[in-house]
Structures are given as C-alpha cells and as structure tokens.
C-alpha cells in the first residue's frame, strides 16, 4: 500500500461518526493492521457498582478496529461491513484507563475478509477482550 492509500484509509476511519462519538483515535494503520484507542469516559459505564465500561463500547471499539484493519489491507477496497463478530470478555477493563484494540486482517478472499483483534488497557500482558470476525470486501483496488 502507498502512503497516500494509508492516509485515505485513515481519513475514512477518522470520519466515522459513532467512533468519533466514542472518542476513538487511530494510533497505527497499515498492511491489514490497525491499532485504535478509546479513552475512558464515565458516560460509557456499564456497571454502576464497579464503574467498568460497558461491553457494548468495547464491541464498538473491536468492530471499528476490525473494519479499519480490512480497509488497510492491500487486497480490500475502501469500505466494508461486518458480517459477524464474536467477542470474548476475559476480564473487566480497569476504570479510568484507555482501552486499545489491535486488529489484524489475516486473510482476504474476493468477497470476505477475516479478522482477529485483542483489546488491552494499561496492563498489556492481560487482554481485556479478544474478538474474531468476518467482514465484507469492497471491490479490490487492483
């Protein structure tokens, strides 16, 4: 992928309204890989007792990172939609800490892109959640 293609993909992801609303930021992008962060916000609390962020917000982060990894893949076009996404929650994210998702698009066919992703808070040795998903492939660049 050329730098201008990566820049186009980054602009595409930065313009997603729901991701912006959740404060997501593209940290790294390129060659079927995306790293996206989401800062802690009390508006996103899912458990009022522990102040832990709702799993739904983590799902949105995983979905955004997965889609970003697809549009950053050299064989996929700009634009994708989620076909399915499975998320496993390993542990509650620590309240107050930014959650960062790393997604990898590890296989692309003419029609489907396969993705796996991991989300961590400040303790990067113990993932908060992992995800696997399938995404649609827009008409290839080639």
């Amino acid at each position: 992928m050329t730098q201008s293609e990566i820049n186009a993909a980054r602009q595409f992801i930065d313009a997603i309204p729901h991701s912006r609303r959740l404060g997501m930021k593209v940290e790294q992008l390129g060659e079927g890989r995306a790293i996206i962060s989401m800062p802690y916000d009390t508006l996103l609390i899912g458990d009022p007792v522990t102040k832990v962020i709702h799993g739904g917000a983590v799902s949105a982060l995983m979905d955004t990172a997965g889609g970003a990894a697809v549009v950053a893949h050299p064989l996929a076009g700009l634009g994708t939609a989620t076909l399915d996404l499975r998320i496993d929650y390993m542990r509650p994210a620590t309240p107050g800490q930014t959650i960062t998702a790393t997604a990898e698009c590890y296989h692309v066919t003419r029609t489907v892109a396969f993705v796996r992703a991991t989300a961590c808070d400040a303790d990067t040795d113990r993932p908060v959640a992992t995800a696997t998903g399938a995404f649609t492939v827009a008409k290839g660049r080639a």
Binding site: I16, P17, G56, A60, D63, G67, R86
Partner: protein, 166 residues
C-alpha cells in the same frame, strides 16, 4: 380468597423495578436506548441519532452500535427475567436496589450476526433467555427496524450471573 392486587399498583411496582435496573447504567442513556414493558415482555428501542452512523456514505448504523444495542438488550432482559419472581413476590427491596447494590449479569462472550445494513432510523430488539442457571445464562437477541419479520441483526451470548446473598 386474597383480593387481586389493583392493576395500577401492579404496573407501578413493575415499572419502578424496570426503571431502577435501566437507569443505573449510564451507557444505556449514552446509546439512546429505552425499554417498553408489556407484562413481563420487554422491547428495547434505540432511537436513531447521527452519532450512531458507521458508514456516512450509505448511510448505515455502525456495526458496533448495533452490537452494543443487542448486548444492552440481552443484559437488561436477563436481569429483568431473573428478578421477575422477586418483583412479583414483592420481596425485591427497591430502596436497596436504588442505592446501587443491584449487580448485573456480566458478559462472557457475545456473537453478533449482521443480516442487513442498519438503516438510519429507530431499531428495536427483544431478548430471549434460553437457559438461566445459578452461575451461567444463555441469551438470544433479535433486532429489527420497520418490519418485525425482517431482522437486521441477531446475537447470542453467555453471561455470568451475579452472586446474590439470600
């Protein structure tokens, strides 16, 4: 024979319990999700707003917003179902619940199938608890927009039930 409880009192008790469960979660308000109750059946609505968009070109709902909506519906549906007996038996201590001691089920895993693009309008969802044990529960959720028979997403998940004393 015991006189039946007046309907107004029944509804007030059920609606109060539901609002206590729902209102304690900031993220539900953030997403713009509300719940309608008919007897013990809940229907969740995610009111459309521009911040839910994932693809501005189509436009279509963000897959993450859809996933979150389904997960919220599953958790509240499961909490509601598991508390129903106490709500009806009037043994649920609403005041204690309001002060923040009501623990919600925790998601173990959640799988979403996207059947068609989410349109830029209100979405609805209902959860069905397929299995609810002392520790684990399995829940299925269906979401639709204009037409109940044309689902735009569905999901299944496993949840860890809160351990409560007594």
């Amino acid at each position: 024979m015991k006189r039946p409880e007046p309907v107004i009192q029944v509804k007030r008790r059920r609606d109060l319990a539901l609002s206590v469960i729902v209102n304690q979660v900031p993220y539900i308000e953030f997403l713009g999700v509300s719940f309608d109750r008919h007897g013990d059946q809940l229907t969740a609505t995610m009111a459309f707003h521009d911040d839910l968009i994932g693809n501005p070109a189509l436009p279509a709902l963000h897959g993450g917003a859809t996933a979150a909506f389904l997960e919220v519906t599953a958790i509240i549906g499961l909490a509601w179902t598991s508390l129903w007996g106490e709500i009806e038996g009037e043994s649920l201590d609403i005041e204690a619940v309001q002060t923040g001691v009501l623990a919600l089920p925790k998601t173990i895993d959640f799988t979403v199938d996207y059947l068609r693009p989410g349109l830029p309008r209100d979405a609805y969802a209902r959860a069905r608890v397929n299995r609810s044990g002392r520790r684990y529960a399995s829940v299925h959720v269906e979401a639709w927009q204009d037409n109940r028979d044309r689902l735009f997403a569905e999901a299944s998940g496993h949840f860890l039930m809160p351990q409560r004393d007594g």
